[in-house]
Symmetry: C3
């Protein structure tokens, strides 16, 4: 296992046991771990603050939560698995019959061994999640129920990392931090995002890269509400999620579907035998960034999307679901996408009257009659379409060549004075 893979795996192993939600100490702890690798700044917004149509809720924390049987034995225990407690469960204590407890229990009858993931952020309620087999064995009660949580004025926090570039335009990369013990969704996204940021910190940068690690929906909307100055500068964006689970890379287009990030990602993901999908207004925070009032060109990179793999939002989305080779490939694809958006440009052929005599510039094999190499083909395609408006990415797509090959050809031609 490479150092890189080992680092990504170690990070998600530390993050996995933490109970995260849209607010609370779990997010604080998570951001602190990410900040060990990259200089994140943690921003906080107080409960009650408005963010467009939403309001920051009270902060939620859990001290303990369980259901005990008549003998006092904990038959459902938050300490055993944080998915057992419905997210944002309000405090409750009481003695309930099985019938009274029933409406507060959530199971997956068709996946009887798995605990579901459920939340109740905006309706005051409490509940427990458990496997169907577990549920069938609960007994008749009566039960002592303890939901020892706090819901109190506090704050919503998110992490932000800005890597300045030479131009004013920004590239936004976001990944949600609000899911508890679910590994692919989204510790995989977080660990890849952190490595992408570390790598970018060492690169020359044209765009400013802004990484946002925030809770889903309310976190993204809060970030948008707090950054009216940044929004107009976002030229490309990506939401990263589910990058370690099953299936090939899947790129979900922006709402308009034909933004530069869509072309860049399509080029790279196709080369990885990945899938391209049109926008839909359901999913992760791309739906906030693409909302009509912002209209940001933010696509999404994942593997098999939410709801399409059986482990999704269950206790089976555990550390074993995340593959090291999948994390590495995702990081590689992101670096390639970054290369396209950073280095794509349109040039003008300076010798447009027929083909220049490439041999005279040291750019052509000397014996004729054989097939041209990829390097020569990349130069010929670049010369054929460099009319000052057609970008290298468009040339690469038309030629069926990797962007990197066309970019190298353009660099050679620029040095030879054949492009400008």
């Amino acid at each position: 296992m490479s150092d890189l893979a080992e680092r990504m795996r170690a990070r998600i192993e530390r993050l996995y046991p933490i109970c995260r939600s849209i607010t609370g100490d779990g997010v604080r702890e998570t951001l602190a771990i990410l900040a060990e690798s990259v200089p994140l700044e943690v921003r906080s917004v107080a409960s009650g603050t408005s963010a467009y149509d939403w309001t920051i809720p009270e902060e939620w924390n859990v001290r303990d939560a369980y259901v005990a049987d008549p003998s006092g034995r904990r038959v459902i225990d938050f300490r055993a698995h944080n998915l057992h407690l419905v997210g944002y469960s309000m405090p409750f204590r009481g003695r309930l019959s099985r019938a009274e407890l029933e409406p507060h229990l959530h199971t997956l009858p068709e996946q009887p061994d798995l605990i579901p993931y459920r939340t109740s952020y905006y309706t005051r309620d409490w509940g427990f999640c458990l496997s169907r087999r577990h549920y069938d064995a609960l007994g008749e009660g009566p039960f002592e129920v303890c939901v020892d949580t706090t819901l109190a004025p506090g704050e919503l926090i998110y992490g932000e990392l800005v890597l300045p570039g030479s131009d004013a335009g920004e590239i936004l990369v976001t990944s949600h931090v609000c899911h508890p013990s679910l590994a692919n969704d989204n510790l995989a996204g977080l660990t890849v995002a952190v490595e992408l940021a570390s790598w970018l910190a060492e690169q020359p940068r044209r765009h400013t890269f802004r990484f946002v690690f925030a809770p889903g929906t309310i976190g993204a909307i809060t970030w948008l509400a707090q950054h009216p100055d940044v929004v107009p500068r976002v030229q490309h964006g990506l939401v990263l999620t589910g990058l370690g689970g099953p299936g090939p890379l899947v790129y979900k287009r922006t709402r308009r579907g034909d933004r530069p990030i869509d072309h860049a990602a399509a080029h790279v993901v196709a080369a990885h035998d990945g899938e391209l999908r049109d926008y839909s207004p359901y999913g992760y925070d791309e739906r906030q960034f693409n909302a009509l009032g912002f209209d940001l060109p933010v696509g999404r990179l994942s593997r098999t999307p939410h709801g399409e793999y059986p482990e999704y939002h269950t206790s089976a989305d555990d550390l074993s679901l995340v593959r090291d080779d999948h994390l590495l490939e995702a990081l590689g694809a992101l670096q390639e996408i970054v290369e396209v958006v950073e280095r794509d440009a349109a040039y003008t052929n300076q010798r447009p009257y027929g083909e220049p005599q490439l041999g005279a510039y040291g750019l052509y094999p000397t014996t004729g009659g054989r097939a041209a190499s990829e390097a020569v083909m990349a130069m010929l395609w670049t010369l054929a379409y460099s009319d000052g408006a057609t970008s290298l990415l468009a040339v690469a797509d038309r030629a069926g060549l990797p962007f990197a090959a066309v970019r190298r050809a353009a660099d050679d031609l620029l040095r030879a004075g054949l492009l400008a």
Copy 2:
């Protein structure tokens, strides 16, 4: 069998025996039967009247027509089947040898049991149609031929029904009334059109609906010539024909192919697993309405089109070819198309900055973590694309949802103040 199916079937059973042509008493009788269900007005135009490149012909009526053998026995008899007589046969009486009779006989050698349907509207001639087996058994004659028809100044008539709407725009629905004992072509179209009109008479209407029951080609051109004021108001149109025969629904696009009626019909017909076809200048009266000088957006709804089913234009297009479930499905599809053209509109999202908190408007399930319902998805799609220009039909097509679901979502969002 439902009342509706029974009513449609009873109507075509009464209409089937009547000898119709582009003029004559058969059309009068047919329109009178249709007028029992809907308040049709019958309009007449005198023989000799010009209609663009055409002239209303003399009126044709049949008293009797037969071919008798030397013993006086009628061996071909119009009274046995009205397809036996070539439409618009001129009067004739004479004694003919078999050889002299031959050029006036029409058969289908490859479908030896079927009588073909033939006409000779604009060339003065007469003839008889018969099955090939019948023809082979005719004997040698000589034959006494009687074509006791009249061709005399009279009138072309058509039926028209106008259901006014709140707006000035019109929707034109036409169906041809000129075919004799052929059931699918076009008693099926007529009976469905009458039920559509009955249903529409009871609905609130935005557009004015105009139903025209006219003979093919000359009837449609005459209607166009007589309604220069209506032509510019036609916003959508449909020709209805062959709706009870074999095969799935088939929508034929307008000449330009991208009119609103094309999008509406494509949406509905696809949901019925039907077929979409591009325009061709051959077929029914869509070719008149779409002619360059009018350029009306008139599509055509049928099942397997003319010429593509073996019973077409033969005596096998009889009552048994028309299926009740096919008539009912066609009527249902037409009502859905009407719903789209009547209720499609573009709205503007009033909370465009991120997703509105639907739960706060009572529009969202309260426990998170599960897949969204069709109703929620329809709202999210509508909000995501309602930019004041994108219509609900476009949203539905993009979302892969039924128009009705998106329309309901828009109604909910309008009530909640989230759309305007």
Copy 3:
């Protein structure tokens, strides 16, 4: 075998043995043979003349070339096959060991019976090509090497034939003359081009047709440099090559891909069950004509393109590879393409209000009820779309009818006054 096929075959049999290159006596001899059939003019440009990024090289001629073994026996002999000598080999004489000779030998290890075709136009070098079996049997030497060539100031020549038309616009047809004993590439192109020119000389012509028979790359660029006045008048162009070898017709689109010649050729080639390909900047002289600075709409017609058949650029591209029926079909397709570009036009329907009564103009069968003929359908399609802007080719493509049928229909309708 038809006279035409016999003539085409006889021409390539005479041309086959000649040693051609981008300059030299072989090209002179070749153009002289072509000029026996059509009044070609031969133009010459002196060595050292500039042509954009290129310079006309010294003229190359071969007196003799061989490798002899210690006994004096010629073991590689230019006189046996002109492919044995690398094109543009510089003069050389010497006694070489096998090891010293090796870098000057070219073989095809994977096609051990075939001699490759190699050139070294712009790098001063010399070499021999031979089959791998031949190479394996060469012995150890030492060898006496004789390359008795001349490289001296002279000229580059090309043939040009102009067939004036009634309009100013030109159609450019080019075919390369620089390949030695390779039959499909390109004696096949040359013999078809000559027959096309002979046929055109007898036709009425709207466009001026200009045939250019020039060496590849440097010849095309030289022609472009010498005809700045003609370049702006070129409305359509075709490069002809490889028309007698294996496979169906293949049309390669212009760089922009949507020029009139692309539509014309696509229509014709599809009817021949041929293939359409997008532009690529590699291949024959289409890459010079389509270069950004000229941007000429020049497509290419071939059969299986260069590099895709195993005989390509080897001694197996001999007379047996060229099929007479393939030459004839290619000529026929070119005549059809010429008919489209010469006779395509947009007309205006003069009776646009519904369908004209075609019977009254003698243009319609008189008995109704049967399917329409191709001739009638062609008229209906032409009337349906002749809005003054839609061309007959567009009508034919939409109708799925041959251009010739639509052209005949338009001629009939023009005569009847229904089009103008």
